[in-house]
Every structure is written in C-alpha cells, then in structure tokens.
Symmetry: C2
Subunit: 118 residues, 2 copies
C-alpha cells in the first residue's frame, strides 16, 4: 500500500513532539481522561486537545467519551509499525556491515598481504 508512507509520516510526526510523547508515556501506564493528560503539560486544554487529535490521527491513541469524560488509551499496533520500519533499516545496514566484515576477513586470510595495495 502506498499509504504506508502517509501512515509513517503521521506516526513519526506524532512522536516528534515532547508533549505528545509525554501523553503516550502516560497512557502506556494505563488509560486516562483528557484532563489528566493535560495536567502535567504547560499549556491550555485546547492545545492538549489538538495534540490528542494528532495522536488519534496517527492511530497511536483511541478514545471514547462516556458521560462528560473522554477516556484515552494507547493503541499498541501503531507503535509497532514505527518499530518495524526502524527494524527493517537495522537489518539492512547490519547485513551490509556483516558482509563487509566477511569480505575483510577473507582478504586477511588470503595470503600475508596487509591489504594496503594500490
């Protein structure tokens, strides 16, 4: 899917803000109402709402309103998407370094040359 890209945009972008990360950190320890997410943050409630919108659009958080309180919770699936992208990159460069290491080792054992030829 080409929208994988858009997903990652929203995801990483959501995580790029300290207030939003703080919210995710709080929610990682359990669900919470909006006002509790807002309390430690040095900004107005409407500002927190906007951050919450970003988090929901990124799929990191879902929320439901019952009575007059909206309770928020993390959605673990989204985070693991980001993790997967990072992981894929690690595999790539690690594989490359491994192959490079192998290559250097074969050079080493293939005769007494110190490799400084040119």
């Amino acid at each position: 899917m080409l929208n994988q890209q858009a997903d990652l945009n929203r995801l990483f972008n959501a995580l790029a803000d300290p207030a939003r990360r703080a919210m995710v950190e709080r929610l990682s320890r359990g669900p919470a109402p909006v006002s509790e997410l807002a309390r430690p943050l040095p900004m107005s409630l409407p500002a927190v709402m906007q951050h919450l919108d970003v988090l929901e659009a990124a799929g990191l958080v879902r929320s439901e309103k019952v009575g007059r309180v909206r309770t928020c919770a993390i959605d673990p699936a989204a985070l693991s998407q980001a993790e997967q992208w990072i992981n894929a990159r690690r595999i790539e460069w690690q594989g490359r370094l491994d192959r490079l290491g192998e290559y250097l080792k074969t050079l080493e054992s293939e005769g007494g040359d110190d490799g400084s030829s040119h």
Copy 2:
C-alpha cells in the same frame, strides 16, 4: 539528561518526512554522495541539502566531503535511540496488560462467579 528530549524531537521529526526516510533507506544499503540521494527525489538539490541538514542534526547521518563530492552514511546509533524509546513504551503497556490478565485470571478461579456481578 534533559536533552534526551531534544534528541528524540530531532530524531522522530527527521523520520517524519518521506523524502528524509527515503534518504535513510538508501543509506541503509550503503554510503552515497548527495547527488545520488537527490536523484530519485522530486525536488531541487538545495531542498535535498536541507533535508540532509535535518538528518545530520538528528545524528542519523554523517557526511564527509572529499574533493568536490560529499559522501553520506547512516549513523546506526541514532536510530537505536528511537527504537529504545518505543521499546520502553511497549514494555510498559505490555507489563500492564500482563498484570491485568493475571488479575482477571484470579477473579475467574476464585469461585464459580461469571464476573458479571452487581
């Protein structure tokens, strides 16, 4: 360190752009000069340079200029910092869900009640 926060800001922010991710993906497969990073991207060279600046500021990429060509390579350490943050969150909510599961299990085994009490 409080600057851990600033680091994560720069890191996730750097990864939030598709052009920058494309550059990182390319570099995961091996070093490349600026112009090669630029070639597949639908934008001007100066624009690519700015993205490169962002990636370097985030510590994701380092580069060195020899002659007139600047060669870029990923710096694996930075990526794993992002990974660690994500991982820490996973541990938290997973631990919580595990404890919740345990709790539900004790409720279940503690008598023939189906749990729908009140």
